[in-house]
């Protein structure tokens, strides 16, 4: 089934104020930067964004925060962002912080038809407040619920016209689980190829999870912490 859309405009058609979006990436690595640019252009408001991080002030989801498009962030780590801090402290922005492994598993569960699961992460901390606790094998666990989204927007290295995706290195991170958990999943890829080009043995995300795919116009792929060692 052909999943190709012409461009980012067509890919994000139907996104409305108040929707819940999942956005793939870890830090600035593997984020759907073309789609984020388009979201800023659209000016969609009151969004709930599920993403491990919230970008930096002038890149990634940080751009949507600057434009005051986000009502609520669901993340595991949100440092490195002054505008985020300002909006959070002033109460403009709602923030739900979730342990990183629970966030990943909640997205996976959402896409896998599992409504909730027990995890030891967060037991005895404020994350556990209001959550059911049950003991398995002598150890307490808390009940965490699945997450889904109106749109999941992911970024892959290569994709084909069927929506099959291959990610590169650590840019995979949250993208495969979020792809599973979107009512509509949009994949922006660095390279879009005809069906049959990618080896089926190497597919990370099967096309069934992807409704729309397009090749991004340009990728800046900004590095957040450039660290190098000296040449000997």
């Amino acid at each position: 089934m052909n999943k190709v859309v012409k461009n980012v405009e067509e890919a994000l058609f139907g996104i409305q104020d108040g929707m819940t979006l999942m956005l793939g990436g870890f830090g600035l690595c593997g984020i759907p930067e073309n789609s984020i640019g388009q979201l800023v252009k659209l000016g969609t408001k009151n969004l709930t964004c599920i993403s491990n991080n919230a970008g930096v002030d002038d890149f990634g989801i940080g751009l949507m925060l600057q434009a005051k498009q986000v009502k609520k962030m669901i993340s595991s780590y949100v440092g490195e962002n002054d505008e985020f801090e300002r909006q959070m402290l002033s109460g403009e922005l709602e923030v739900d912080l979730i342990p990183q492994g629970s966030l990943a598993e909640r997205c996976r569960a959402g896409g896998a038809g599992i409504p909730a699961f027990f995890t030891p992460a967060g037991y005895g901390t404020e994350v556990a407040e209001g959550k059911e606790v049950r003991v398995f094998n002598g150890k307490p666990h808390i009940l965490e619920s699945a997450l889904t989204a109106d749109f999941a927007i992911v970024k892959a290295w290569k994709g084909d016209t069927e929506g099959n995706l291959i990610f590169k290195a650590a840019a995979r991170n949250f993208n495969p689980m979020m792809a599973m958990a979107g009512k509509i999943t949009v994949a922006e890829v660095e390279e879009l190829v005809p069906a049959g080009t990618l080896d089926p043995n190497h597919i990370h995300t099967p096309g069934i999870f992807v409704q729309r795919i397009f090749q991004g116009e340009k990728f800046e792929k900004r590095i957040e912490q450039r660290t190098v060692r000296k040449n000997d």
Partner: protein, 219 residues
């Protein structure tokens, strides 16, 4: 003399066992990778989806798609693999990672750890710390004995919001190696030239001190 950060890392590296998969947190724990003892082979896991993490790249060889959990550019070693975040935390929760080393703001004598939030200050989030401490069989905390105000971080009970309960087994500071057992800290080793009295005076939690406390040994 009290150890510096590299000394703490070097002492923790002595705990590594051949064949272990190890997750190192940000800060002092990252330095442990520089002191792997001879004859010991370990592999580093980064929770953003890498097993077999190598050193920083040479200038000009950075890859935006290859970063560690601290968002720093890194490299991989031969035999490395990449995976998604759910698989990464399956390794962690499923206890396939043998050792977690992380920093802390406070540790209590029953093994509680606080390292993610100071109320009233900017909250950055727990990242993967809660998953790591809730599941790891073996957690070593690398930190300074006291905070910047000179107050002990080795406490009867944590005052800051917790990251995990009853999970820390060992703490290595610039002054001492402490084990947590039966709701008490046990003094195992002291840094070269550091007196037992100094360690006692800087430890708020209950501390069991044996008759003889050996000095840490470095090759």
């Amino acid at each position: 003399m009290a150890l510096d950060k590299n000394g703490i890392a070097q002492r923790i590296a002595q705990e590594l066992k051949n064949g272990w998969y190890v997750n190192l947190g940000i800060g002092i724990p990252t330095l442990v990778a520089n002191y792997i003892p001879k004859g010991i082979e370990v592999e580093f896991q980064s929770e953003n989806g890498i097993l077999g993490m190598g050193p920083f790249p040479f200038d000009g060889e950075e890859d935006a798609d290859l970063i560690n959990a601290g968002k720093q550019t890194i490299t991989t070693v031969p035999g490395a693999s990449f995976f998604d975040s759910a698989t990464s935390f399956a390794m962690i929760r499923g206890q396939h990672v043998q050792l977690t080393v992380l920093g802390a703001m406070e540790v209590s004598q029953n093994g509680d750890i606080a390292n993610w939030k100071i109320p009233g200050k900017m909250v950055k989030g727990m990242g993967g710390a809660m998953d790591l401490v809730a599941s790891a069989e073996n957690i070593i905390v690398a930190m300074m004995h006291s905070n910047k105000a000179g107050e002990s971080k080795i406490l009867k009970a944590c005052t800051l919001p917790l990251t995990g309960v009853g999970c820390v087994k060992k703490v290595v500071t610039e002054l001492a190696v402490l084990e947590i057992k039966d709701g008490k800290f046990h003094l195992i080793e002291r840094a070269p030239g550091v007196s037992v009295e100094e360690i006692i005076s800087k430890t708020e939690g209950e501390l069991v001190v044996p008759d003889v406390v050996p000095e840490m040994h470095f090759d």
